[in-house]
Amino acid sequence: MSGYMRSQPVTTRKFLTPGVMVLLLLAANGLFWLGGRFLFGIGAVTHLNNQYPWGIWIGIDVAAGVALAAGGFTTAALGHVMHREQYHAVVRPALLTALLGYTMVAVGVSIDIGRYYYIWHPLIMWNGSSALFEVGICVMIYMTVLYIEFLPVVTERFIGRVNLPGPLARFNELIDKLLRLLDRTLDRTMFVFIIAGVVLSTLHQSSLGTLMVIAGPKMHPLWQTPISPLLFLLSAVSVGFPMVIFESLLASRSFGLKPEMHILGRMGRMVAPLLGIYLAFKLGDLFIRETFVYLKTVTTASVMYIIELLFGVIVPMRMFMSPTVQKSPPLLFTAATLVVGGVLLNRLDTFVVAYTPPYTYGPYFPSFGEISVTVGFISILVLLYRAAVIIFPVISLPDRRLSPQSKYSVRG
């Protein structure tokens, strides 16, 4: 049966649906405020100050962005490293999400740092003791790896179809040959990049959790733990599949396709154990460090922590265990959304809510401009995803040609 499905560009009636219009508006609004940041400095647009140096641009755009792009390496590990052929249909959408997610992270970092034109400095100026240095280098390399992993999709799209306009047409054959050469080389060497991608991901997903450890007593004890890197890695691993489910169901709905429930449901079955491991460490940390005492009083921190754990981990874990949920698109979508939201909240909590320095002139709350830029980035991300699946063979669709002749069709 798998022979009848293959990755191909989605054909859609029109690009400019009402939803797309809204996204375009949000993107434009974000870019407007971003312009303010480049003209007048970070302080003109954000509520950041000397007491709160990092806000949602780091907490959401960067930290949550990296975590939610974890679908890329978890599905790569499942599909390629563990060689589970049946999941190949979701590897490409997950790869695309990771690629766009990491691109957003890179852009997010460069607009948040004061001297964006020095973003290349970490490449030649090393500080091995800095967790941020490690995150930065890993993210840079991993992003390159993601683009390399995506190249076969590009070559597949254009091999035999290179059609340059006008006088450039005489290069058609040459470019086609080059693409074929590239494709052959990539086919033989791809395993190097796939494994590298998984290793790099585990490294920086965990190091992201080390970042706030150095803030010491400035962090709320609920989130300030020496096992923070482990918690970050475990939560990234457990949010990978829910993110793939979330985005696959959204895409099927948006393009009017049949949801790939046979794959997604089976994927969903793996989520509960992963969440369980994360929950065990999270609770273990809570009891060993005896930080549960902070949950006895109602504060922003305790409320956020409980929401994060209850609705982001425990409820979806129970949902993913149920066969009814595994078979129902709306329920599966709800469960996946809860996990995604839970991890997003965890990153926001760790980087923003938990950061409570001793000297302040009032709490930090993101400005309208800051929120606009973040929302704008997410909108651009969705638009790029939409454009990419229309241009490139990413989403698995029933093959109209009925002949699995392409070498990319699933073997077996």
Partner: protein, 300 residues
């Protein structure tokens, strides 16, 4: 045959991991943390300070910051609120009530403590901040990318950032008057203090002087030299007549601030053995599962 292959594969990967372990580690690259026995420091005796804020004026003048005339510093209203060093003032003096003698409030000068094991130096992504042999913790404008991780890391909340500059925003903090001291002068604040509340000298001597003062006048001081052991020791040390937490000094342990973070960091990397081993392991898993997949294909 197959198991043979697998064994040689694993042997090869162990060899790779071992080789990686033997190569000189780059993980420790970064700014040097020189702790010279002759490093300098300043002893701030808050029981001597009269709150004239001449040091604030001198600091601004020495660093080319916008400086109001000295006369305006007689105005004591700035004491009504807690102030922090920022991009317009690298040091500020705050006033605290003295419960024992309301007539004589305690005034405390705040600036970078110039830690012996600075969190900012450990954190800086490009190594733009470094601890000098003379004790100063200084910032290098040619390296800084403006990520503000030093501000997140600093246990004393000292580095400030020029948020309203679109191009070339700086991280600003006390630089221990590195330039002036190079010319053989005293730090500007120390020179300007009319009552010698600030004593500049080798840190070792300062700690000894501080201990002497406490011993000779135990009724005047609490028996605690703030900065002697806090976060592994700081170049600037304080004496006070009341408990330091009443003067808004952060309560910090004796372990260097970057300690936990650095040991996690170096544990994960440990000469690249963990990542390389993981790579080898995943390679092995990939190879065996491919083999199994192919076998199943043959059988079907």
């Amino acid at each position: 045959m197959k198991s043979q292959n697998r064994r040689s594969f694993l042997k090869a990967s162990t060899a790779i991991a071992a080789a990686a372990g033997l190569t000189p580690a780059t993980a420790n690259a970064g700014p040097k943390n020189i702790l010279s026995p002759n490093r300098m420091g300043v002893l701030v005796d808050t029981t001597v300070c009269i709150g004239c804020r001449n040091c604030e004026w001198a600091c601004k003048t020495a660093h080319g910051l916008d400086t109001p005339p000295l006369e305006t510093y007689e105005d004591k209203t700035p004491f009504d609120q807690m102030r922090r060093p920022d991009t317009t003032a690298l040091t500020v003096v705050n006033r605290y009530e003295n419960p024992e003698n309301p007539e004589l409030p305690t005034t405390v000068k705040v600036q970078c403590m110039h830690c012996d094991h600075p969190a900012c130096v450990s954190a800086c992504i490009v190594g733009a901040i470094s601890k000098q042999a003379d004790g100063a913790v200084i910032w290098d404008t040619d390296k800084c990318i403006g990520c503000r991780y030093c501000m997140v890391a600093c246990p004393f909340q000292i580095p400030a950032f020029e948020y309203n500059k679109a191009i070339g925003p700086r991280i600003m903090k006390c630089d221990f008057c590195t330039e002036r001291r190079g010319e053989g002068k005293l730090p500007a604040c120390v020179e300007s203090c009319p009552v010698e509340a600030l004593t500049f000298g080798p840190r070792e001597d300062l700690v000894r002087i501080a201990k002497d003062r406490v011993r000779h006048a135990p009724e005047r001081y609490v028996d605690h030299i703030y900065g002697e052991y806090e976060v592994g020791g700081t170049s600037w040390c304080y004496l006070a007549g009341t408990e330091f937490d009443k003067l808004q000094f952060p309560k910090l342990g004796v372990n260097p601030a970057p300690g936990v973070s650095e040991s996690i960091q170096h544990g994960i990397f440990a000469y690249f053995v963990p990542p390389v081993s993981l790579y080898a392991l995943l390679g092995a898993v990939m190879w065996t599962s491919r083999q199994r997949g192919d076998e199943e294909e043959e059988h079907s």
